[in-house]
């Protein structure tokens, strides 16, 4: 696959000759097309959402699911970032949606509705984690567990993974496991920013840290993710069988 083809598929090549590279990411965050509904709007809440809120508060509670449906994944994934277990994350998400309903009158439209929900679920998930695994709960102190200076590993070339590879459970599992293995302070920033596509300012506000702290943690999370994922995926036999049956593997 050429560099141009890989860019078109959304995943860049790692192992091209540096001199061949004319199409580095240089315009914007690479996931602009994949933004979650938490941040897909420039101004939140939308008039439709505020209208739904008013009707629900007036008694039409059957409309509540319509209001929250666009944020199901964002709320679930936020919970997963904290509790690291799908069943617990689902419980947290349900609890958070119920809590949000009971406190809906407190939502005054001053923040994005999705951000308001995510803040609620993050609190729910942290409370649940304290109950489930009190000994394992990591400090929320801003500086606890920070790397002083993370040195990325020299892994050699990691050629492109076709975006179609995400159809493989194995590839998804590698990515999910790597996120789970991040220390909590990096994991929550990475999930909000890179999995859900929140901007730095909203991420900082939700986590009650400065934007500078978000950027620092994000950099370290991304470097750690690359160090964890690249060695596994570049040697994946399943990937080789599925996508590179003809001819040589591109990373050989």
């Amino acid at each position: 696959m050429t560099a141009v083809a890989s860019v078109q598929s959304g995943v860049l090549l790692d192992g091209d000759s540096p001199t061949d590279r004319g199409d580095r990411p240089n315009n914007s965050h690479p996931n602009d097309k994949n933004r979650s509904t938490v941040t897909s709007k420039t101004t939140d809440p939308t008039p439709q959402e505020m209208a739904l809120v008013r009707r629900i508060l007036a008694g039409e509670k059957e409309l509540y699911y319509d209001l929250i449906a666009p944020y199901e994944r964002a709320v679930y994934v936020s919970a997963l970032a904290i509790v690291r277990n799908p069943a617990d994350a689902e419980d947290c998400a349900q609890d958070a949606f119920l809590k949000a309903f009971r406190h809906l009158e407190a939502f005054r439209g001053e923040s994005r509705f999705g951000s308001w929900l995510v803040r609620i679920v993050l609190n729910e998930a942290k409370m649940k984690l304290r109950k489930l695994r009190p000994g394992l709960y990591e400090s929320l102190d801003e500086t606890a567990g920070e790397d002083s200076d993370y040195i990325p590993r020299d892994l050699g070339d990691w050629r492109a993974i076709p975006s179609e590879s995400l159809e493989l459970k194995e590839v998804r599992a590698v990515l999910v496991q790597a996120v789970e293995d991040l220390p909590e302070i990096y994991r929550e920033v990475f999930v909000l920013r890179d999995v859900q596509g929140m901007n730095v300012a909203d991420t900082a506000q939700l986590l009650d840290v400065s934007e500078a702290v978000v950027k620092t943690r994000l950099l370290r999370a991304r470097l750690r993710m690359r160090d964890m994922v690249a060695p596994v995926l570049k040697n994946s036999s399943a990937l080789s069988r599925q996508f590179f049956k003809k001819g040589k593997n591109p990373w050989q």
Binding site: P25, N27, P30, E72, Y150, R172, V195, L223, M225
Partner: protein, 76 residues
């Protein structure tokens, strides 16, 4: 003065998010054109970001929506 590898690593996120000045970007491009290790890091991070943002990576568990709606019906 030319940027070192360590300086490049500190800017990887800003480079990918395009939150650096044109001058720093130009410096980085010059370094990346000659440094295979930093090139692998930048593109590896970019790969990771693209892959995790794909909705298939962190999909909702099967039946999530129906279980949520059922609980809402029961408890609202």
């Amino acid at each position: 003065m030319a940027m070192t590898c360590r300086e490049i690593w500190r800017e990887v996120s800003n480079y990918i998010d395009d939150t650096i000045s044109p001058e720093i970007r130009e410096e980085m491009e010059r370094h990346l054109a000659q440094c295979r290790h930093c090139t692998a890091i930048v593109d590896g991070v970019h790969n990771v970001i693209v892959l995790v943002a794909d909705g298939r990576t962190f999909a909702l568990p099967a039946g999530f929506s129906s279980r949520l709606q059922e609980r809402l019906r029961r408890e609202l």
